[in-house]
């Protein structure tokens, strides 16, 4: 079912799948894919809305992928199945109902995407916004709004949580000098925290403003519609954070 139920089997995902190749010194590999919906749906309350990207993303031995578009879903799932290591494949229930345009190349039977490579969904010059899964769509919509206000946003679709494509992210920030990370999960020890640190470690001198992060609220998911709306990132949150990141000018400029 959803990854919320996977917690009842998480011992096996981590201790039997993720660690076995290492513990057996390569004798036993675990070419398994765990796939299912992850994160918040609509009105399903606390026990059914958790995003597990950060938890699984911290485990060596696991690979963690999260598609956004139909192209991602097709290419990444095939890559996951072909991959010889355990892969956690985090889908999104709301995205199941969304249609995406696909090229003939995507529909080709041999189409597959590489694991560990992010995609620049939208090229930009003023600020880098990273996201995965449903939040990519929100980031793209925020970019359209910001375009009208003269801010040119580069949106990176992470696709791969682990391994994280630090190269693409850092290359982008070295170009734009500003970073906003977006995710649905809880803030503490989240995906954005790792991305921020990676950029601080590798591209500190290129940053013209502090890194901003938009995340889920730091609470279990409430049921009531008005509270749920406050607990999950909205497009206006992304817009606000981008404007903050862009409001500081670089020192010496």
């Amino acid at each position: 079912m959803t990854f919320n139920f996977a917690m009842q089997a998480i011992d096996h995902i981590i201790n039997s799948a993720a660690k076995t190749n290492y513990m057996s010194a390569g004798q036993i590999s675990v070419p398994i894919v765990f796939r299912g919906p992850n994160g918040a749906a609509a009105g399903v309350a606390a026990q059914h809305s958790q995003c597990f990207a950060a938890w699984y993303g911290s485990c060596p031995g696991l690979k963690v992928l999260s598609p956004y578009s139909a192209e991602d879903a097709r290419g990444l799932l095939k890559a996951a199945i072909r991959d010889p290591d355990p892969v956690v494949f985090l889908e999104n229930e709301i995205l199941y109902g969304e249609a995406f345009p696909v090229s003939a190349e995507v529909l080709d039977p041999s189409f597959v995407l590489p694991i560990g490579k992010a995609k620049i969904e939208r090229e930009g010059t003023d600020v880098t916004v990273t996201a995965f899964s449903k939040m990519v769509g929100y980031a793209l919509k925020a970019a359209e709004i910001l375009e009208k206000e003269g801010i040119n946003v580069e949106v990176i679709n992470l696709r791969s949580i682990r391994p994280l494509d630090r190269a693409t992210i850092n290359q982008s920030v070295r170009k734009t000098n500003r970073l906003v990370t977006v995710e649905e999960g809880w803030p503490q020890h989240g995906i954005g925290a790792e991305i921020c640190t990676s950029v601080v470690e590798e591209s500190f001198d290129y940053l013209d403003a502090p890194v901003e992060r938009i995340t889920g609220a730091d609470v279990p998911m409430p049921y009531a519609a008005n509270l749920e709306r406050m607990a999950v990132p909205q497009i206006e949150d992304i817009v606000r954070a981008v404007k903050r990141a862009c409001s500081r000018s670089a020192r010496g400029k």
Partner: protein, 399 residues
């Protein structure tokens, strides 16, 4: 495959042979008002035989009164109406997310309440609306919670699957299948430890019955003689999977092995009352016991499930005709001349109005205050900060 289907169908259609009643002690009393107060007891035969596993079943006769039967009728009618109203509210999108309805299974929670007190605990899964009402919840609290309003039983923050009423011994309301059962054993442990003369009833379905944690906690309950009763509400389908497809042994009352079990006609309120009273005594003196309630849900697993892709409409309507718990009580009341058909109709009308009023009130009530987003995350927040989606835009210090 075919033989197993017909076995299941036969089991479901075990007709409710009209109970062989003892000579009615009442005169032709046909006003429900006096019936509501008539506590004089009489006995009723339980039609379907109890089946025991490693235990001598209780007697096939149960004591009841006119007052009790009238209460059963009214309470179950109210629950039935409530679930039907919830169906409509879900379809009009006033209820969101998940909605798992209990109509058809009312005899289980009403029969339980007839044999228990607030000193006993009940814990169940997500099909909890009626269980909540049975534990003293009110219709406005239910509908407000389902619609996510602040005067709901959990302030609108829990939703359909997370109703609680701790002061009345109702511990929820849980979304992850089977997880409530070990929690129930823990509650029983606390009762024994604190020397409270109460028992914990942990409810789960046939779908959950194969969960490992159920057996792990059963072992502990048996080892330490805890006052825990496992109640398997066997409605024969775990979501869309029939019991014969999911369990090697679908005789759930036998699955406890070293723990005794009892199979009960879960559509017969009086049988449930008898079994639950028996189980409570057993749990207090000897240790855990499993009750398998043979019951049925008319709706699908949830409102996303039409409920007719894995079972036939004939099966559903057949159970409704032959075994409906409310109809059973109605027939008994009429047979014993406790009230007239018109009286019962007027009770149904009364209950319908109660439900409609509660729905109307709930529709008008306010959603939770935005500050409730952060309330109750902790008991003690130590002054830490909690953050909203944009941590620089919304942050709160937890008390």
């Amino acid at each position: 495959m075919a033989p197993q289907i017909s076995t299941l169908r036969r089991a479901l259609f075990m007709p409710a042979i009209a109970s062989r009643f003892m000579a009615p002690s009442a005169l032709s009393r046909s006003f429900s008002r006096s019936a509501d107060e008539d506590c004089s007891t009489f006995t009723v035969d339980i039609a379907v035989q109890f089946k025991g596993h490693n235990v001598e079943p209780p007697a096939q006769v149960v004591e009841t009164s006119a007052k009790e039967l009238m209460k059963f009728f009214k309470d179950m009618s109210r629950m039935r109406r409530m679930e039907i109203a919830s169906d409509q509210l879900y379809k009009s999108k006033l209820i969101r997310g998940f909605c798992h309805l209990y109509d058809g299974q009312e005899a289980v929670c009403i029969g339980m309440e007839a044999a228990l007190t607030k000193e006993d605990n009940i814990i169940t899964g997500y099909r909890d609306h009626c269980t909540y009402l049975g534990r003293g919840g009110t219709l406005p609290e239910v509908f407000s919670e389902l619609m996510g309003r602040r005067n709901g039983c959990t302030l609108g923050k829990g939703g359909s699957m997370h109703f609680y009423k701790k002061e009345n011994g109702f511990y929820g309301g849980h979304g992850i299948v089977g997880a409530q059962v070990p929690l129930g054993v823990g509650l029983a442990f606390a009762q024994k430890y604190e020397k409270v003369k109460g028992v914990t009833f942990a409810l789960y379905g046939d779908g959950a019955a194969n969960q490992g944690q159920i057996f792990e906690s059963l072992n502990m309950a048996a080892l330490w003689d805890l006052p825990a009763v496992y109640v398997c509400e066997n409605n024969h389908y775990g979501m869309g999977t029939a019991e014969w497809r999911s369990a090697k042994c679908p005789e759930y009352y036998k699955r406890g092995d070293y723990v005794p079990g009892l199979k009960v006609d879960g559509m017969d309120t009086l049988a449930v009352k008898q079994a639950v009273g028996f189980a409570k005594e057993h749990a207090l003196s000897k240790g855990p016991i499993i009750l398998e309630m043979d019951t049925y849900r008319y709706h699908g697993h949830s409102m996303s499930d039409p409920g007719s892709t894995y079972r036939t409409r004939e099966e559903i309507s057949g159970v409704r005709q032959e075994r409906d718990p409310i109809e059973r009580i109605r027939k008994l009341i009429l047979l014993k001349e406790i009230a007239s058909a018109a009286d019962l109709k007027s009770i149904e009308k009364e209950v319908k109005n109660e439900v409609e009023d509660a729905v109307a009130k709930a529709k008008e009530s306010a959603p939770p205050d935005p500050s409730d987003l952060y309330s109750n995350a902790y008991v003690k927040g130590y002054g830490t900060q909690a953050f909203g989606c944009d941590r620089k835009h919304s942050t709160v210090v937890l008390p």
